[in-house]
């Protein structure tokens, strides 16, 4: 198992190395002149030259590539060409907000998707099955930004039962920072009022974000369970007199759920993508909002840093998912050899 984990981590490295190269190519080969963007329309050639010199844009391409590589490896992603602050600092500050939102969404998606898929399979071609199919197809077709606005319209504006935007009530203030996760920090500070307020703020964005995930998890669980139900050992357990619930929970689900776990890795990418629009709509102070601001202000340094960080987070999650899959089903690790 240890060898499998090590191997899986080594396999992720070339892709990350390629990603660093790709981000460099993106900034240098694609025509828009960053120096001109920075300086504005009224810049004189002298000002342009000065900016090029300050950001190293006047060096030969290969030299810039090497510098880029060295900086990224040492965790220095440069300074925002807009605010002048180190990009890494801003990202580290915002990452917990995005991770908190995506983890809660993932939890919702799994917590609702797996039972829904299981019920659908046990109720094959029955009404629950059709309902599950509707949810799983509709959930993938709905535009997250539209759903977010509709939920805001209904629950925050018309009914006025949930907050419209933000991560926590400004009047209450954020809990003292320990982990950056408000759910954890408010518990650590023993402030239940903050915990409740955080949950209320999380409700709409998390529900919006979880829907595509819920859809595919329900779908994969359903097909996994249906497939497992055909297996001989299930027939044997049935013949031995196991009840339906026990059979489903112990025998079928564990075998079926490996497919679902593999899916979670892919889902994480969809969640991060979804978070960009959802965060922008709910004013969630995370990476997504940061990326949108970077787009609006043409801050390519910030945008590339977000791309890189998301790539790294994505790679880490996928390694974790593969390891989890191997732990649930040791045959997965065997197959790789």
């Amino acid at each position: 198992m240890a060898r499998y984990i090590l191997r899986r981590i080594l396999l992720a490295l070339p892709a990350l190395f390629g990603l660093v190269l790709l981000t460099f190519v993106l900034t240098r080969v694609i025509p828009a002149d960053p120096a001109a963007t920075l300086a504005g329309d009224a810049a004189t050639p002298a000002q342009l030259a000065e900016i090029r010199a300050r950001y190293g844009l006047d060096r030969p391409l290969w030299e810039q590539a090497v510098t880029h590589m060295r900086q990224v490896l040492s965790g220095d992603l440069g300074s925002s060409i807009f605010s002048g602050r180190p990009v890494m600092e801003e990202i580290v500050f915002r990452l917990p907000a995005t991770l908190e939102l995506t983890f809660v969404a993932l939890l919702l998606a799994t917590g609702l998707g797996v039972p829904l898929g299981l019920l659908a399979a046990l109720n094959h071609n029955g009404p629950i099955d059709h309902l599950a199919r509707l949810i799983s197809v509709g959930g993938l077709a709905i535009a997250s930004f539209w759903l977010a606005i509709m939920l805001q319209l209904i629950f925050a504006m018309d009914l006025d039962v949930l907050p419209l935007r933000g991560r926590i009530d400004v009047a209450l203030g954020a809990p003292p920072t320990v982990t950056g996760f408000f759910l954890v920090d408010s518990l650590l500070a023993g402030r239940l009022d903050l915990l409740v307020d955080t949950l209320r703020h999380l409700a709409l964005p998390a529900v919006t974000l979880c829907l595509p995930g819920l859809a595919s998890i329900a779908r994969f669980t359903r097909s996994g369970v249906l497939e497992t139900l055909q297996k001989d050992f299930v027939l044997y357990a049935q013949a031995a007199g196991y009840g339906r619930v026990r059979l489903a929970a112990i025998y079928v689900l564990r075998n079926a759920v490996t497919v679902t776990v593999a899916q979670i890795g892919l889902l994480f990418g969809a969640l991060i993508s979804g978070a960009v629009a959802v965060e922008a709509i709910f004013d969630w102070p995370g990476l997504g909002t940061y990326a949108v601001q970077a787009i609006l202000s043409a801050d390519y340094k910030a945008l590339l840093a977000v791309t890189l960080v998301v790539g790294v987070v994505y790679a880490v999650v996928n390694v974790l998912v593969d390891v989890a899959q191997a732990l649930i089903d040791p045959r997965v690790a065997e197959q790789v050899k």
Binding site: L26, A143, S144, F145, I149, M150, V276, A277, T307, G311
Partner: protein, 279 residues
């Protein structure tokens, strides 16, 4: 034909096909179907933000334009974007997949590692970065989407080619002296076609969604284009009063994507009976 009959036997897939065909008809005849086709560009400030009525079934927007007309006119750009992005992605991805799946060696290895790099970042993030670095606009957004979607085709075709390379009929063809291009184009590609078709159909829905997000974030279509994502973005400033403004363009996105997804599902069932839902 048998495949079509199989497809139509599944009511949900048939619904998907109907939605897609409906959207194509609307897209083709948009200027004749829209009650106020000139509303694509003209504004009428005297009748701004009117709720749905017999005159304007979907209401009017912040510039007094008929939303029904703009939803109909927007169908054309949504379909055009989806088709061109998926075709462009296929043109890159299919040859890459065929080559990398057929040949062994460093070229194939490199191609597949490049694919991995593209798949190592969520598509939207990469498209955003690309779209921003090249001057933002609809064309840029389409290029960015195609450049980030081809790896999915490359993966699919690579897997199919690898599977077929060891097949007996391919050995036999090589044995009777068929050239590699002939084997790949006339024999391997047709066998991989169902998988490509399923990937393309699902890709259409996916592209429409991602293009809408790009439009919403201001990296795609620019005003006054009747783009659905853009309309939802413009509507945000007029909430909660003008509920109809974001509702109908969003529903249009939902129905079209739903159509492609249902159709893709149905096609997958026909192409690969092992995965058939109804089992």
């Amino acid at each position: 034909m048998t495949a079509l009959r199989h497809l139509l036997r599944d009511p949900v897939a048939a619904l998907g096909l109907a939605l897609v065909l409906f959207a194509i008809v609307v897209a083709l005849f948009a200027p004749w179907l829209a009650p106020y086709p000139e509303d694509a560009f003209e504004s009428r400030l005297l009748q701004r933000l009117k709720p749905p009525s017999a005159e304007f079934p979907f209401g009017t927007d912040n510039l007094g334009r008929d939303i029904l007309s703009r939803v109909i006119l927007g169908t054309r750009s949504a379909v055009v974007v989806a088709v061109s992005v998926v075709l462009a992605a296929m043109l890159i991805g299919v040859p890459v997949g065929l080559w990398a799946g057929w040949r062994e060696g460093w070229v194939s290895e490199t191609l597949m590692r490049v694919t991995d790099v593209f798949l190592a970042v969520p598509q939207l993030i990469l498209a955003l970065a690309l779209g921003q670095l090249m001057a933002p606009g609809l064309t840029t957004a389409m290029v960015a989407l195609a450049l980030t979607y081809w790896p999915f085709f490359a993966r699919t075709v690579h897997a199919e080619t690898r599977r077929l390379r060891g097949a007996l009929f391919v050995d036999a063809l090589a044995g009777i002296g068929a050239s590699t291009p002939r084997i790949l184009l006339l024999h391997v590609l047709p066998n991989a076609a169902p998988a490509i078709l399923v990937r393309a159909t699902i890709g259409m829905g996916f592209t429409i969604l991602t293009a809408a997000i790009l439009g919403f974030l201001g990296v795609g279509a620019a005003p006054p284009s009747p783009d659905w994502g853009l309309a939802v973005a413009e509507a945000r400033q007029h909430l909660p009063e003008a509920w109809w403004f974001p509702t109908f363009p969003g529903l249009a996105i939902l129905l079209l994507v739903l159509g492609f997804n249902l159709l893709g599902d149905g096609l997958r069932d026909v192409a690969d009976p092992r995965l058939r839902r109804g089992r």
